[in-house]
Symmetry: C3
Subunit: 267 residues, 3 copies
């Protein structure tokens, strides 16, 4: 059996991850996927930011659902392969700017964004969750800010998480780079609704997204704007934060920690 | 049996709602009531703001208790009859300024305000709860920001709710215009104490209000002031918000949504 | 048996309280103790602020653990003996500046501070907890802002508590000067982890502090800095707050309330 060019191209795309968008009945679904736990390399982050910005201008997209590939976690965070390949502070900053740009695209998009969290979220993945406006999750979706464990910190995702759950919750998660349960996330307001199965989540999501898609679009866009009032300086803030992570990620400490962390994941 | 003029006048007042104030042993009780679920037409909002401002200057009022008519919910929010009668953005803004003025009167009043929440609170009613300093509620007191369901948004009440419970809680309630339980409100800090019956609530309230009325009045007024520090620009902010609601409420979308919502309530 | 000079000196120190610091394997432990419920007179507050500032410059101190004498509460707050001896607003302000300086030293220290809360915390003691970055507590550690009960208010500790748990939680605690449980403190993000025994707490603390002491020190210091971003004006703010408490504490109201409160404690 020989592969067609199209088959091979699809396989290559799947290997490096993909972002797919469709719009049905006013509901735009943005789906990102990567074979390594739906982690995010720079190319996927750029595609995500671009698609969310574009959907902000598409009238038929009344509400946006952010979801990821079905298998494994919702999002394992930054791509480890890319983190390991960073050689200097400048390219380090540029890598973390990828997350900054997705967060800015999400919070400034005039459409309400619902995150469908079907599994665990780590590091930058928690940032995507916090930058969503409404979060529907299954109760197995534990969350973790693992940054400190690899010698950096949750600098780029910190402001959006703090805005959602306050300093008490953020500092607990940031300093103790261990798992927190979905119920904890719900109590702190990071998750809006928690379901006991993916089926229940999808059924709840369908009903809810349809209802929002039928809501007054002017009310939705004004609501979106007022919820993120006061974040006008986040271009500057998140760039500063990306610079912090970028300069830490090239240290000897971080290189050794990433290697040890990855070994722990695979053992 | 013929009605005296006084009887008829009392009946008319009850039909359009009333605000009643008394002061006993240092405890000023402000009671608003309206036959339609203790909802708030413009005239009642104006009376409420005026009485709260006045009590701020009355030495004998050491603490203020805000309560409502016994039957039905604590507060059904804005008067539907008045919402439906709004014909242009200017009168729309003026209607929502009624809520803005009550919230400003409450947060700027130098006395601690305790809300006695004996039942459900909806929309603007949740705003009154959030603008109180201490909230005692029964556990059947579910809360709901229904604004989006009628094509507007919780714009005027948003800042005071966000200040009390954070963005995570506010966005969950604002986007999902459905009920949240009293326990949820307690976990997020909107309710300070939740009781399992109205009797227990009233007993707790009596003890607590008496204790506060005997507390150092200088300490209470300074405490009140520091709790609302940073809201000095809310005249401007809430006026902007009233303008948003006022312009949305006259849209075709909103008129149809209010009609459908009201039909749902009565079916 | 006769006492040596050294014995007597140690006994005198214990009677007026003490602050002890040691550093083992990168973990600096700051232990304060006072025979009256680990309460804090001015001299201990000054020592605490000084030691924390000093440890900020000591390279071998990779992480700081704040703990108190084993018996009784974690911290009973301000020293009652000293509160009672305050005769004018100026010395009142100076006394409360003692807490302000400890809070500023803690939040500006470049090291992560873990609080080990083995028992109850009251008033200023809750401030020390809130000014820590990570809080490990046993479930019997109830907390209480008792200030209003003695005629003052939680003015100096208010900003750091509000920053950690939001206005909903702070106002509930500040207005109702009664106990809140350790679970409540955990739900609101004041406690990061709650253990069911002191043994479990100490075991968790040892593991956790060791892990942090092995973490990237540059990442830890940047994380510490960003968590307290936006508190640059707290010198001014907390001085204002100390002035409020200082002027209230000399009133007749407060003197009588302190006497009654102390009587209640001892009965």
């Amino acid at each position: 059996m020989t592969d067609s060019l199209a088959d091979r191209s699809a396989r290559d795309a799947a290997a490096s991850g993909e972002v797919h968008v469709d719009i049905v009945a006013g509901i735009a679904t943005v789906r990102f996927a990567h074979p390594k736990g739906n982690s995010l390399p720079a190319a996927l982050l750029a595609r995500l930011a671009e698609e969310i910005r574009r959907l902000g201008t598409v009238t038929e997209a009344r509400v946006i659902v952010l979801r990821s590939g079905e298998t494994g976690p919702f999002c394992a965070g930054a791509s480890f392969d890319e983190l390991k390949s960073i050689r200097d502070a400048r390219s380090g900053k540029e890598f973390f700017m990828g997350f900054a740009r997705v967060i800015l695209a999400m919070t400034r998009c005039p459409k309400i964004i619902i995150a469908r969290v079907h599994g665990k979220a780590v590091g930058g993945g928690v940032g995507l969750v916090a930058a969503s406006d409404y979060v529907m999750a299954v109760e197995s979706s534990s969350i973790r800010l693992s940054e400190l464990a690899i010698g950096i910190g949750p600098f780029v995702v910190g402001p959006v998480i703090q805005r959602k759950i306050g300093l008490g919750g953020l500092s607990a998660m940031a300093i103790d780079a261990d798992w927190r349960t979905a119920r904890w996330a719900e109590e702190f307001g990071l998750f809006s609704r928690v379901y006991d199965s993916v089926n229940a989540l999808d059924s709840g999501l369908e009903t809810f997204a349809r209802k929002l898609a039928r809501s007054n679009p002017d009310a939705l866009s004004r609501l979106k704007a007022v919820m993120w009032e006061g974040t006008e300086d986040w271009d500057r803030l998140l760039a500063e934060r990306a610079e912090m992570s970028g300069s830490l990620v090239t240290s000897e400490f971080t290189r050794a920690a990433i290697a040890a962390f990855e070994k722990g994941l695979s053992s």
